[in-house]
């Protein structure tokens, strides 16, 4: 499994765009990248997944460069309710989702 590295924490003001970058240098050809959000005392919640280039959904965008050794989760115009821990995961595509959660990034949104 590819190991992921993220910043431990980030602060952002409300209304700003937040970009969280994850490094996964050992990603394999068939691996996918997923991001989860976790609030205190709740289970993680899936945000977005991608393989390469750019993926956008209603809550976030995911940018993956051609070499796929990193990915960036972009949260547009964050609000206080976006304060959470964000995990980048590399998903082994060998049949089931054997994943290893990295340390995650604790995002604090400031009013």
């Amino acid at each position: 499994l590819a190991k992921t590295t993220q910043p431990i924490s980030m602060d952002s003001y409300e209304g700003q765009e937040v970009n969280i970058t994850c490094s996964h240098n050992n990603i394999a050809t068939n691996d996918y990248i997923t991001w989860y959000q976790q609030f205190p005392s709740q289970g993680p919640r899936f945000i977005i997944q991608g393989y390469k280039t750019k993926v956008t959904n209603e809550v976030a965008s995911l940018f993956i460069p051609a070499d796929r050794k990193s990915s960036t989760l972009s949260l547009p115009r964050v609000s206080l309710s976006d304060t959470a821990v964000y995990y980048c995961l590399v998903v082994d595509s060998g049949g089931y989702q054997k994943v290893t959660f990295g340390t995650g990034t604790k995002l604090q949104v400031i009013p």
Binding site: S93, V99, F101
Partner: protein, 115 residues
């Protein structure tokens, strides 16, 4: 709504007293996972079921066992809880990747306290 349900949400057990945590799902997913999450740490995969096939992580202590009697239910048994087993236990489900199952659906977790 289809979902992953964990009971109880909070469980207190005594040191060495066996405890069972339960998870049920209405998503009809064929893969179910159990994670342990200690305070301020990331979730750690204990084991998972791919249909009826049980897959144990190499570093999961023997003290932890699991049962999956049918597609909908999965149980985590801790045979002799120690103080170090106090944690949030998360159940998750997914479809297999062959059917596009890149997303894991997590339950709310059961917080286990060992006294």
């Amino acid at each position: 709504d289809a979902m992953v349900i964990q009971n109880p949400r909070y469980q207190v057990t005594q040191f060495g007293k066996p405890v069972t945590l339960s998870c049920s799902q209405t998503l009809n997913h064929n893969v179910m996972y159990w994670y342990q999450q200690k305070s301020s740490q990331a979730p750690k995969l204990l084991f998972h079921y791919y249909d009826k096939d049980f897959n144990n992580e190499a570093d999961t202590p023997d003290n932890f066992q699991s049962r999956r009697p049918n597609t909908s239910f999965c149980f985590l048994d801790i045979r002799s809880p120690g103080l170090g087993d106090a944690a949030m236990y998360l159940c998750a489900t997914s479809r297999d990747l062959a059917t596009g199952g890149y997303e894991q659906y997590f339950g709310p977790g059961t917080r286990l306290t060992v006294t």
